[in-house]
Amino acid sequence: MPETIEKVSIQLKVNGKSHSVSVEPRTLLVELLREHLDLTGTHVGCDTTYCGACTVLMNGAAVKSCTMFAVQADGAEITTVEGLEKDGQLHPIQRAFGDAYGLQCGYCTPGFMLSAMQLLAHNQQPSDHDIRKAIAGNTCRCTGYQNIFKAIQLAAQNMKGAR
């Protein structure tokens, strides 16, 4: 019976904070973040790894947290949208999305920003094609992507200036 499913203890660091939790083996990483840790900035849009609303960084790599079990994140460092701000200051990517009107309803935005984080960590001067490829796994139904392209270019410029 489902009740008797044995829970598994895992440890992970989310946005710099350590957590020890016990979860069912079937618990998805996104459920752990949203339901157990109350980090509801990470969203679910499709359940099939298409839309990327659930994108988070795991050890610096963008992953879709709806398609990973929580137990697979044992020992990992996770960054969610809530971890982007530093000392109350928005991250340059957050600022750029706002300045470029890169969001409308805002549901997909955390996922896009974390995919952009991964891109800009490795590529300081992304071309239009680089940007499109980096967010190919993120779906937005509001913006038609045009202002998201602008936002990521703007973030690249701002971050280059800051380096």
């Binding site: 969203h43 849009g45 009107y101 309803c105 967010i135 190919a136 779906t139």
Partner: protein
């Protein structure tokens, strides 16, 4: 220091959105983020059949599972509720529509039972234990077949025809008699698709049996409509239902029709002793069973033209497919006629319009609702006639467009187009895309055997409905006009707080409402707090409140403007008393003590806190004649509509008509048949622009939805009603890899019908669907192919070009030259 009292400071500016602060930080409040004490989780058990009789439903094993609180079946729902109200007249008014299937299932994905458990995972487990036995029936997949009534979906109606009406204006027969050319088109088809907002439907329902009150936290986007259905269905007084919405992750109309799921969450909560019940839709549930856009077939179209290619008359038979239950329909049977004439001058037309039920997902409003199908039809008509008569498509449009000097223009069915300039938009779009160069490149490409086409799509986004048009569908309906409410107050400590009844899903209502109020009071928009989201207990909504049908810039902001002006008048009155001067001596601005009123003659001032304090906390200092001043002002804006003439189907159905002119250059690859967009321009006219980047963003978004619909997104059913595109991996919403760079431009023809000159503009008229069809037509006409479907992908283009199974111009289009 005081700034000049200029009411036009903030409207029109690119003000950053007030919504971003929470959304960028992952601190939005979407319905699935909400957790209530003792909350339970609901999962539906859905039909695998498109059409079947339900033999038995056994929930005993599910209910026996530890952690399961209860389960619900259709039989239980019938015992406790009334069927949903039907909008249409008899015989469809007789059908029995319940939120769970009762004796029959009518589409794949229809909910048959619901289970409620302590966790979402347990509810999933329990749903698998529900045993349902079906006896399959013949499914009806095509609307034209449905009208033959060989297999009837709803026995109570005795027919699959939901509605039929003939829309006839002018002198049709005379126009055909006098025509120089008559073009006939056998059949065209507009496909099913859905805007699929990224956030699925979510409902938390709580029905405490002790106090007979139902509370909802949900993302329904037209709650004032939903609660009318729910109150009658659940047999509770409408005031006992509270609906609250927060941030909504897109709707595009699709979330208007979530009231059946809302009903089930309430009933489940009641059965669970009043504990809150949360239902979070999965993406596959969303695609198979929330709502699709209307599918429509156009038969026996005949077009009369004069010798110059000017269209003089159109006749046609349109069959709309509304899926298994009419629900919001058959409003779509009249809503298309808001754009009966499109952007064209023809005066004579007869459209025989029917709607049928089929064994597919019910349809509902979907960005461009019911008008885009008709606008696509008209654009196909214009393009096909242009190609057949050898008139360039741009020239064909100029000969047929309503002329700029004709506005306000009354259409054959009595709609009044407020303003517009279609030739100017065409000129601008041609200039921005480099029309002449593309024509040269196209000629060169054709010499190489490449299939390159250039297409124009001109379309309308009619906004702010006259609900009186519902009486054309059913004369007994008690709706007409349109209204919106807003409340503007100076709170106890002098804060300016605005509440509106809209449910924004990314349209930036907090920002634009603040811009309007800031201009009225001559303060910075940062000083204006805007409360959006629907809340029945906030008392600002009217019967039409919600966010749908391209109207906030007109109805919502007019209400906000009216409320702010009322507040300003009260503040002025109070200020004149405090500053011992006349009202016309008072000016508004911001001083050292924050926002204030000051007397021009004496330079004495009082800030907002002082004013608010006088009313709220220092009332003994207030003279009795000022007791009626509350600094809390509700305003109801009403659209200046009349009830249309139901017999003639004549009257003004919409207040504003934004227009879109798109041009696409498309190439069909010779070896793969993949259609690729080489260049794209979108020119928009929504009158006076309140916030330019917000408008631009809406244009980009509507363009992406349209391009996705034209080339990638299709709700496909097989012959027995299996839905074949039930995940995003199959439905393939457009991504950054497929979306071309869009060149955006705009003109402004201010609307004389709104206080600010703005027009509603969110839906965008599905301009890319028309535009890409036109471009493909241009690319393929020489190959004997005509674009008779709104959806074209590599597969369908292969079937047309190589297999020659479909879309053969010789078989489907005939031209009679006299």
């Amino acid at each position: 220091m005081n700034q000049p009292a200029d009411e036009k400071n903030w409207v029109g500016k690119a003000l950053p959105r007030k919504e971003e602060n929470r959304l960028l930080r992952g601190r939005g409040r979407f319905s699935d983020d909400v957790k209530l004490r003792d909350m339970l989780y609901l999962r539906f058990v859905r039909s695998p059949y498109a059409h079947a009789r339900i033999v038995s439903v056994d929930i005993s094993a599910a209910e026996a599972l530890p952690g399961v609180v209860c389960a619900l079946t259709g039989a239980e729902v019938v015992a406790q509720t009334q069927p949903f109200i039907e909008i249409g007249p008899d015989p469809f008014a007789k059908i029995k529509d319940y939120p769970l299937a009762v004796s029959k299932v009518r589409y794949q994905g229809e909910p048959v039972a619901a289970v409620v458990a302590q966790s979402a995972a347990l509810a999933d487990d329990a749903a698998e234990l529900v045993q349902i036995e079906y006896d399959a029936l013949d499914p009806v997949i095509d609307a034209e077949d449905a009208l033959l009534n060989k297999s009837v979906l709803h026995d109570e109606a005795g027919t699959n025809q939901v509605w039929n009406g003939v829309f006839e204006y002018g002198e049709v027969e005379k126009a055909f008699k006098e025509a120089a050319h008559i073009v006939s088109i056998d059949r065209m088809h507009f496909h099913r698709f859905s805007s699929t907002p990224l956030e699925n439907n979510v409902v938390i329902g709580c029905w405490d049996p002790k106090d007979e009150r139902i509370y909802y936290e949900c993302n329904n986007s037209f709650p004032s409509f939903a609660i009318q259905f729910l109150a009658a269905h659940l047999q509770v007084h409408i005031d006992r239902i509270r609906v609250e919405t927060s941030d909504i992750g897109g709707s595009f109309g699709i979330k208007i029709t979530s009231y059946p799921q809302m009903a089930i969450c309430a009933l489940a909560s009641k059965k669970a002793g009043g504990r809150p019940v949360k239902w979070v839709e999965t993406r596959s549930e969303h695609i198979t069973s929330s709502a699709h856009g209307n599918e429509r077939t156009f038969r026996d179209t005949r077009i009369a033209l004069d010798k110059n290619g000017v269209i003089t008359a159109i006749t046609s038979r349109h069959i709309d497919d509304c899926g298994a239950y009419p629900r919001y329909e058959p409003l779509g049977c009249v809503i298309w006629s808001q754009v009966f004439a499109g952007v064209y001058r023809f005066k004579n037309a007869r459209i025989d319009f029917s709607q049928a039920v089929t064994n597919k997902c019910p349809v509902g409003p979907n960005r461009g609702y019911s008008r885009m199908q008709h606008l696509w039809f008209l654009e196909r008509v214009v393009d096909i006639c242009a190609h057949e008569l050898g008139i360039p498509p741009d020239e064909m449009r100029l000969r047929n467009y309503i002329r700029p000097e004709e506005f306000p223009y009354t259409t054959p069915n009595g709609c009044v187009y407020d303003s517009g300039n279609y030739p100017k938009m065409l000129q601008l779009a041609k200039q921005r895309i480099g029309w002449d160069e593309w024509k040269k490149k196209q000629a060169a490409a054709r010499k190489e055997g490449r299939l390159v086409g250039i297409g124009i799509g001109t379309t309308l986004d009619s906004g702010t409905n006259n609900f009186g048009q519902s009486q054309i569908v059913n004369p007994g309906l008690p709706y007409s006009g349109n209204s919106q409410g807003a409340n503007c107050k100076l709170d106890i400590y002098g804060e300016v707080v605005v509440a509106v009844g809209s449910c924004p899903q990314g349209q930036g209502h907090e920002t634009t409402a603040a811009q309007v109020v800031a201009d009225v009071l001559n303060i910075h928009p940062d000083l204006v707090t805007v409360r959006t989201g629907f809340d029945t207990e906030r008392n600002v909504h009217t019967g039409f409140s919600g966010t749908y049908a391209s109207q906030f810039a007109v109805s919502g902001l007019s209400a906000v403007h009216g409320a702010a002006q009322k507040l300003k008048a009260e503040m002025k009155r109070l200020g004149a008393f405090v500053l011992q001067t006349k009202e016309n001596d008072i000016e508004f601005g911001t001083g050292a003590q924050g926002p204030e009123l000051r007397a021009k003659s004496t330079s004495k001032s009082i800030n907002y806190w002082g004013l608010a304090n006088l009313v709220n906390a220092n009332s003994a200092a207030l003279p009795e004649e000022l007791y009626e001043v509350t600094l809390n002002c509700r305003y109801i804006w009403r659209a200046p509509f009349k009830v249309p003439d139901k017999q003639r189907k004549y009257g003004n159905l919409t207040l504003t008509y934004a227009s879109q002119l798109h041009i696409a250059v498309v190439e069909v690859e010779r070896d793969t048949f993949i259609p690729r967009i080489l260049d794209y321009v979108a020119v928009d006219d929504c009158g006076t622009v309140i916030n330019p980047p917000i408008v631009e963003g809406q244009v980009y978004g509507a363009t992406a939805h349209g391009i996705g619909a034209a080339l990638m997104e299709n709700c496909v059913y097989d012959a027995v009603g299996n839905m074949l595109t039930s995940t995003f991996s199959d439905y393939t919403p457009i991504t950054a890899m497929n979306m071309p760079k869009v060149k955006y431009d705009h003109i402004e023809t201010p609307s004389p019908h709104s206080y600010s000159g703005a027009k509603g503009m969110g839906e965008g008229g599905a301009a890319p669907v028309h535009t890409i069809s036109a471009a493909l037509q241009d690319a393929l006409f020489a190959e004997g192919v005509f674009i008779d479907d709104s959806f074209n992908n590599a597969d369908s283009l292969f079937r047309a070009l190589v297999a020659k199974e479909i879309s053969q111009v010789g078989k489907l289009v005939k031209v009679e030259k006299r």
